[in-house]
Amino acid sequence: MSTDLELGLYIFVLATFLGFQVIRRVSPLLHTPLMSLTNAISAIAVVGSILVAGEQKTTLSTVLGTLAVTCSMINIVGGYLITYRMLRMFRKSGKDKS
């Protein structure tokens, strides 16, 4: 097994456990914003997309890469914006919306 793979697997497993611990504490009240935020975070695929689109090695890879950057960008912009919009709606009783 290569060191890269070994390291990658350790990181994956640790991040998954960390994810379980962190997400378990999120109040059910916020499950919808949680999903839209993780959706925006998973648009991290933009990193791979930018590389494929920017390397311009073949026409096919540039086309696929450009499409992938577009898809990721939709999720980055849309995901963070709607999460913020949702969270702005939550207010405690007795307080005005800010």
Partner: protein
């Protein structure tokens, strides 16, 4: 020079994402979480743009503009459309992963080592199946496609055979990456499986399915991280994958069903048996002004919203009713079942949009002890999650499902369009209790009438 700092930029991005999710755990810090999430993403994007491998920014810039032009309107959709929007964005996220995997495959064959190819197969499989599955879920939630589960003979055998074949093709490609002819077939099988996976799934199972798709989209991004040997992708993908997984487990528990049951056991079969016994029992019905009278005499009212409230867009009328009752000194609380609506937390977002304070929105476990003290439990568009049969009737398809103990309130009022059964296709015995009053009509209209009566009565 500058590219030696890129790993540090990625590390900072990974930390930002973890903080973003940590701060999202409470309303007070949640907005800060979004801001640091944006910062993390900006770091990741800038760090990548600095890489020396990138020879041209033209197409990247065009894609940024196009993505923003589509992303902004998608963020401005009304809150009632949030489940559809979420399904659609899962589709985009998964498609991006699948496309990058495909591009990497054709760029790198035949110089792919087995391990990289294994990760790549996983990325493409998860990416493409999540893409079509999410589009199907979007279609069902938007009601472009029929929301009823569609079942046919040998459905499960066919689905399992297809996914089995796709996995076998992925394994073969891992062993022999040079088999370029097999790759398109492999991708196509993943796309078709995604469609078939969602065909038998009905509307009320959407909270589980949408969470599961969230998880898959994250896992395909993590697989991309293994292909590109990028730790940031692995961390972000794993966080997303575990989040979606936890949410789907919570949803399954709230319905007392297992994963396999949701994915392979459409409620269709159960329906056929239950519908055979039509009820001849009578119900008591009431008019909106009678309902208003009962509400005025109460001191504690617990409102139980469900998908019907979302469909009727009644949340703003419900807020008006909340205001009138609260001003009259009547305490109003909201009981939220975990699977009410079409995605996790759906009801909370709708009621928050209508400006109802979030400390009045109570989770099932906290509110159930309060029903015996409640003068009125007002059920608006919820059905199966209030059915007492889940507690005692072993023969019922929803037996064992945790429910809101609505039947323990002094008076139960149910606003409902007709006597049609809910998703599980069974009668709700709550409706036949002596203490239950049915107020028939559209949720928005009925609540509006109740508000008018309350305003006159004061």
């Amino acid at each position: 020079m500058i590219d030696s700092f890129i790993p540090l930029i990625y590390l900072a991005a990974a930390i930002s994402f973890i903080l973003a999710l940590m701060w999202l755990s409470a309303v007070a810090t949640a907005r800060r979480g979004v801001i640091i999430g944006v910062a993390g993403m900006a770091l990741a994007v800038c760090g990548t743009l600095l890489k020396p491998e990138i020879v041209s920014y033209r197409w990247i810039a065009i894609a940024f503009v196009a993505g923003t032009a589509i992303g902004v309107p998608m963020a401005m959709m009304p809150m009632t459309a949030v489940p559809q929007r979420t399904a659609l964005s899962h589709a985009f996220g998964a498609l991006a992963a699948g496309l990058v995997g495909t591009a990497e495959y054709y760029l790198r064959t035949p110089n792919l080592d087995r391990f990289t190819m294994g990760a790549l197969s996983l990325e493409v499989l998860l990416g493409f199946l999540t893409f079509t599955a999410s589009l199907m879920a979007f279609g069902k939630l938007q009601e472009i496609l029929p929301t009823r589960p569609i079942t046919y003979r040998h459905q499960n055998v066919l689905n399992l055979a297809l996914i089995g074949l796709a996995v076998a093709a992925g394994a073969y490609l891992t062993a022999r990456p040079e088999a370029t002819r097999l790759f398109p077939v492999f991708g196509a099988m993943a796309l078709v499986f995604g469609v078939l996976l969602i065909v038998p799934i009905g509307g009320a199972d959407m909270p589980t399915v949408i969470s599961l798709l969230n998880s898959y989209a994250g896992l395909s991004a993590a697989a991309m991280g293994f292909v590109l040997n990028n730790k940031l992708l692995i961390i972000a993908g794993a966080l997303d994958g575990s989040s979606g997984f936890i949410l789907s487990v919570i949803m399954c528990r709230a319905m007392n069903r297992s994963f396999t049951n949701v994915l392979f056991g459409a409620f269709g079969q159960v329906q056929a048996g239950a519908a055979a016994t039509p009820s001849l029992r009578t119900v008591r019905s009431a008019t909106p002004d009678e309902a208003a009278g009962i509400l005025q005499a109460a001191s504690l009212v617990i409102v139980v919203p469900g998908y019907g409230m979302a469909v009727a867009q009644a949340q703003h009328k419900v807020r008006e009713m909340y205001d009138v009752l609260t001003k009259a000194g009547i305490e109003v609380k909201f009981a939220i079942h975990p699977v009410a609506g079409r995605m996790p937390g759906h009801m909370n977002v709708l009621l928050a949009e209508a400006d109802i304070p979030y400390d009045k929105l109570m989770e099932m476990d906290d509110v159930n002890s309060e029903f015996p003290q409640a003068d009125v439990a007002l059920v608006i568009g919820a059905n199966d999650v209030t059915n007492p049969a889940a507690r005692h009737d072993r023969g019922s398809p929803i037996y064992g499902m945790p429910i809101l103990d609505v039947d323990k309130a002094r008076t139960v009022m149910v606003i409902k369009r007709s006597m049609n059964p809910g998703f599980a296709g069974i009668d709700n015995e709550l409706y036949f209790m002596d203490r239950t009053l049915m107020v028939f009509g559209d949720a928005k209209g009925v609540v509006g009438d109740i508000v008018k009566e309350l305003a006159v009565g004061r």
